[in-house]
Symmetry: C2
Subunit: 252 residues, 2 copies
Amino acid sequence: MRYVLLVAYDGTNYGGWQIQKNAITVQEKLTEALKETLGSRVTVTASGRTDSGVHAAAQVCHFDAETAIPPEKFADALNFRLPDDISVLKSAYAPEGFDATASAKKKTYCYRVYLSPRRNPLKDRYGVHFKYPLDMSKLAEAGKMFEGEHDFKAFCAAGSQVKTTVRTVYGIEFKETVRALGKDLEIYVTGNGFLYNMVRTLVGTMLYYAAGRLTKQALVRSLEECDRNAVGKTMPENGLTLESVDYGLKLF
Amino acid sequence: MRYVLLVAYDGTNYGGWQIQKNAITVQEKLTEALKETLGSRVTVTASGRTDSGVHAAAQVCHFDAETAIPPEKFADALNFRLPDDISVLKSAYAPEGFDATASAKKKTYCYRVYLSPRRNPLKDRYGVHFKYPLDMSKLAEAGKMFEGEHDFKAFCAAGSQVKTTVRTVYGIEFKETVRALGKDLEIYVTGNGFLYNMVRTLVGTMLYYAAGRLTKQALVRSLEECDRNAVGKTMPENGLTLESVDYGLKLF
């Protein structure tokens, strides 16, 4: 049988999702917990990798196993063995033909920044301090420019190997909350898939444009000519959270 | 001259505000940073202690010094020397006759819980998982009962030495946010002062009453007879944040 898990993790202490030699990863911790639970090693496959230090509010993954454990019991059985910064929120049988990677239709990431004259330690774990004032209408304008199907080659970290750098961004939304000493800004980016570093570089480009530190011509060149020199700074990893993965069906 | 600071800190790694032998504290870190900045040791006095592991979004403190440093420059000068989990948000000259402890009129604490079937690592640093369903009308009812002037002796940790255990709670407010897998609840408690552990025990008592695990008679006994056996569990420290201190005047 194939099982599906909804997993939240604080990525601070992990080298991202995918198992690798030089860092402890979320996939490794889940694989260990599954091995202890099932008695044998299985492969656990996620909707996609998250990079080192990136968080997930609702990562989706699947694994195959023959076991008498009822599907809804996997969450608690795994949480018993997982460290505190990883939690299985739900577990179920996967629908017929489901694959956590291939079946994913849309993913939404949220990038959190807070605007204030000085750093705030209570916001630094899941958000990033941004000290330049922002023109919110320019931010919305940049969001609209990046929506749609584009070649995002300029927003992809060097050295990544992908067949195509064309991706579709379905929507970019901004949610602003005014606070006593500044404001919090959440940037939600929904797409059919993202290149390595793409969301963090898109966000950096939009923010630097809205802060008057990148020209509109640079934004156009970043998209139309894939000019890597025209994009803004790649924002730090801790501000990024995988918020949801949409499969077009109810999994849990 | 007397200076006033607005300070935010993540209390996770500190033994509370006040300098003590057996733990690293926020007061100690600020005192060290001030000594390095001023060249001599001064005493830094806060609106009140925060307990071990408790956070502050806006602690207020004062110190006296003769220096040529302009008051608004202290924030950056201290932040340069402070660890990342403490940040001075603002600095200024203190008003005539100001004392961070004695001049404080009201303090507001926020206690954060999240209601969901399972733990969520992204909410665990500044909030606490509460797994029992809550009757929100009972929660509001309990909040109203604790408002006003009462002898809160039953809500005070054993061993604390205070002249009186009578305190006035000006208001208790609940802010609920519905999420995909449950809801977030913020409980704001404003008072003229709080006994050791009082907010955490008040919150535990209200939550356990609203969860149907304490009777209304117990709540009445906790207030009218100061019955310590009638109060709910003292909630964990990491859910508590000192949100603001009201001096009845503009400090910054």
